[in-house]
Amino acid sequence: MSKLTGAEIFVKCLHEEKSTTVFGYPGGVIIPLADQIHKEKSIKFYLTRHEQGAVHAADGYARATGDVGVCIATSGPGATNLVTGIATAYLDSIPIVAITGQVKSTLIGNDAFQEVDMVGITRPITKHNYLVKDVKDLAGVMKEAFHIARTGRPGPVLIDLPVDVQIQKTEFKYPKNVSIRGYKPTYEGHLGQIKKIMKAISKSSRPLLYVGGGVILSEAAKELTAFAKKTNIPVTMTMMGLGAFPGDNRLSLGMLGMHGTAYANHAVQDADLIIAVGARFDDRVTGRIDKFAPNAKVAHIDIDPSSVSKNIQVDIPVIGDAKSILKEMNKLAEKKSYTAWHKTIEKWKKELPLKYKDDNNVHPQYIIEQIQEITKDKDVIIATEVGQNQMWAAQHYIYSKPRTWISSGGLGTMGYGFPAAIGAQIGKPNSLVFDIAGDGSIQMNIQELATAVLNKLPVKIIILNNGYLGMVRQWQELFYDKRYAWTVLAEDMDQMCPDFVKLAESYGAKGIRVKKKAEVKSAIKEAIKTKGPVIVDFWIEREENVFPMVPAGESISNMMHGLA
């Protein structure tokens, strides 16, 4: 058998894993790998303009396609630039494999040039990580890394690869199977527990499905939708769960939690049975924990045992894969009318809808609704930044399919949306991809405009420009006597820096500015018509707030509804 270099083996492994789309940025100790990838036409490599762009793009690619995203950076500063992106993927359970170059294995521990202990740094933000000290281990590590990233509760895996290991030679043999005795995720749910849930449902008069990102990760949206429809049980989704159930179905209550709909939060508080599927009772969902769902028995379906009874005491846990468990549940499902329950919910929906001031000013909610209206018959992916823009995009766009909503939930990473949109566009070339952005967040990874322009990726950046770090300003308005410490990006909009239209143009993208409500629709249409990437800079009502809002740490019954 002929011998291959570590770099050659690496590329072979990518083929074995059918992961031939790679994002990255070079540096001294990753040149052998870059060189090999460069030689192989079969690997599609995207050079970003910042390592953070590469890792978020890999993450966006993974969220849009369901495949593992791959990114590569050099050692030291290149590697540490990945950290925010790895943590972002970790908190949202997104499967990525990140490869970092490392100094020569004989120099490790010497404070060598551009040496950092990446395995140490990423230990708490990866599902698992590896330092490969011998080229003989590389193929096995690659096999395990992809396996760990995509199975069980998915997550990021980091491989730290010293430069000499990339050059050393060995025989290549890709392991057929992975066997890790400490890692055997449970997929099949316990039938007795499943029956307990079904029994609880049959006894319940106010059941509610509370659905999280786990349903999307396990490709269980179809089964979940079938179950809700079969049983006639209303559905509320976490931000990560948007798209798991069609938002326009009469059973949908939209998102719950801090900026959830009033009717979703009331339903949680009034339900006598909550069936959580692939959701983790995050504090943004539960608000004050001892006041959460006070009347409800709680069933929890999750693949990760450590999610169960972590925040909320669960009455009926079922450990396993949402898809296979929902399949079982569908076999046992029976229709019930829950007439009174649905009537109550309808009443809440009518009395407490999402609303905003419908005047002639440019309201961000209106912009989102117009995007929805104009793209109705298209395959759309909405990525977002973080802040008010993200919440308006979550509330006012109706997601009907999984993997069409791409947003940093657990970490809330400003600067995530645009590179993630780039990754999503590469993974789904026929989709129309938007990044709903804030004027603050977009500046955190704006350099990727070069990546989008040069690779002809027609991502549409919709800046909801309020000249503020709006979400923080909202908290300051409501809880800090309007002292806008550190949150004013522009004293008045004419002083907005940068000029996003000129910025777009300087990158060779199109820039459109909108200051009037009457121009909103035509600007969106023009952006869609344009072939390449576009920035639409909407100057919105500056002090618009996101409502409803549950103040941090309060019961989700205590919603502020604003003035509208």
Binding site: L131, I180, S306
Partner: protein, 160 residues
């Protein structure tokens, strides 16, 4: 906060101890003692930890320990029956003959042993459970303890 004895069976590889310890330190839990050693299977190490922790949070830590890819098994020995041992070396002041004789008689009556005799001190060794070790320390304390070194606790579930 109370004391817990946790045993974790892990892959005998570099970096694993740091993963285990990291789950405690990230939550601000102090590890009171720690013992690591190979088991009957040389690919498997056993980590025995004594930690002071909040019970509810420790439940979460145990689940997180189980979640580590390199963890094979987690045992909480706190409530069950188990045998435990640790080893202690105590250097005690012992200059006069009478003092030395008294220390020898303490050592004889407790099952400890004198393992080193110096000009002005003797070093006593004992292996035992926490209780017997504590008793020995108290018996020797009046003579003036110069230095103590002890291993972490090791423990095995009893199958009574």
């Amino acid at each position: 906060m109370s004391k817990f004895v946790i045993a974790v069976l892990v892959e005998n590889k570099f970096g694993v101890l740091a993963r285990v310890a990291g789950l405690f330190s990230a939550r601000g839990f102090n590890i009171n003692s720690l013992a690591v050693g190979e088991t009957e299977d040389p690919d498997v190490s056993r980590i025995t930890l004594v930690v002071e922790a909040d019970e509810k949070i420790l439940e979460q830590v145990k689940k997180q320990l189980n979640k580590l890819i390199d963890t094979i098994k987690v045992e909480d020995l706190t409530d069950g029956e188990y045998v435990d041992r640790e080893l202690i070396l105590i250097k005690v002041k012992a200059s006069g003959v009478t003092v030395r004789e008294k220390i020898v008689s303490i050592v004889d009556s407790t099952g400890a042993a004198i393992v080193d005799i110096g000009k002005r001190s003797v070093t006593v060794e004992e292996s035992g459970n926490e209780h017997s070790i504590k008793a020995l320390i108290e018996l020797l304390r009046p003579y003036g303890i110069i230095e103590i070194v002890r291993t972490g606790k090791i423990a095995l579930q009893s199958d009574k």
